[in-house]
Amino acid sequence: MPASTGQCLYVATSLSDAVAALADRGPAGAPLAGATWIMRAPIRREERRSSYVGIGGIAELCAVELTDDEIRIGACVTHARLIAALAGAEGCDGLVAAAGGAANPAVRQMATVGGNLCASDFPASDLSPALLCLDASVELRTPGGRERMPVGRLLDVRCTLEPGTLVTGVVIARKSLRTGHARLPLRKAGDYPVAIVSMAAALGSDGLVEDIKVAVGSVEASARRWPQLEEQLLGRPLDPARAHELAKAGAGVFAGRESVEAPGWYRVQVLPTLVRRAAQAALAG
């Protein structure tokens, strides 16, 4: 099913060029970053836009900057680049595991952070829960100017973004965190995870959980946090076995989505195990 050649692509040379080109095209246009989602539209039986603005080559969108206070990830940073830039950085193990476990080596060279967050109707994104539990924000350029919003909000509104909106980057505040990302593909690897648990915990010097964020991906239509579990984990040591038990008791707050590859009940059923694995990974990191 080769692509129909009717659509056209304008390759933007700078951020302002991209913003202008998107504004020009209005609802007929959309950004194209790594293209790994857009190029598969025919297989999903989706119509493609008539016009795309290529943003993958814009240098200012491809940088990862680490300062003492924050990590800024350009929207067009690929999974491979993200792994290389953040390997070993404190608090980033979960995010690196998320990027490194996703897809396959060739797709990781192409697929971008921005594309992963903005692909609508994509429940199985690995980066979404990893960034959710890091309390990350996204920066956007809209026809009206600049905007910043939490990742969770972007996931809610990504289908209804105003035409011409561009995510320019992701910002993570640097904190001393232990993070873990547990994904469950049906084979050993190579397929979308049927469920994901990402966890980021701040532990006090006494080893007690001072702050913790748990995010669940792929189980429902969009990734989301698990506030009930977070609350129960506060103020105690991070014990994977206990986290597992609590998750077992509380997983009913999720309504698993049905799909060809897995029934909804299964996605919910495996959550406690993934909570335990994420906690173990966080402690090991």
């Binding site: 080769p2 056209c8 293209a35 790994t36 795309y52």
Partner: protein
């Protein structure tokens, strides 16, 4: 608008539409049929080529994004008709069956070994997670790759 690109070291100009997948340009316009179309969804890896030295699935690369960039296909691995060490070791191990997946596997492993020349078996297997081989059951081609890693 025509697209300029460098394919296997030669300057080329393609007149196809900018959203045309690179794989179709390579095969249908330049008759480089080594890379194969098998799934068009980035899963089987048979269309893998190197773009600026990194492996990509060319079925998902729109032509417009490769303007001015360097593309290498399986046809470039042999130098002056002499197979690369990876190709030779695959041949020595009698790995090939139908052969459709090998162009992609060779491109993935070639760049993988540039970064991890002494990789272990498990890493090699993990690196192949984007390549489907339906004939061989993988192990022998992994054996060959391991042998190359040991040799280097």
């Amino acid at each position: 608008m025509p697209t300029n690109l460098v394919i296997n070291g030669e300057d080329r100009i393609s007149s196809r539409g900018s959203m045309t997948p690179l794989i179709d340009v390579l095969r249908d316009e330049f008759f480089l049929t080594g890379a194969k179309v098998a799934c068009r969804e980035g899963i089987c890896g048979a269309c893998t080529v190197h773009l600026d030295g990194r492996p990509v699935v060319s079925c998902l690369v729109p032509l417009g994004t490769v303007e001015g960039r360097d593309v290498r296909t399986v046809e470039s691995l042999a130098v002056a008709g002499e197979p690369s060490p990876l190709q030779l070791i695959m041949e020595e191990h009698d790995v090939v069956q139908c052969g459709m997946c090998f162009p992609g596997i060779l491109m993935v492993l070639t760049s993988f070994f540039q970064e991890r020349p002494h990789a272990e078996r498990d890493e090699i297997k993990a690196a192949l997670v984007g390549n489907i081989c339906r004939c061989t059951g993988y192990e022998r081609l992994v054996d060959a790759a391991v042998a190359l890693a040991r040799r280097s």
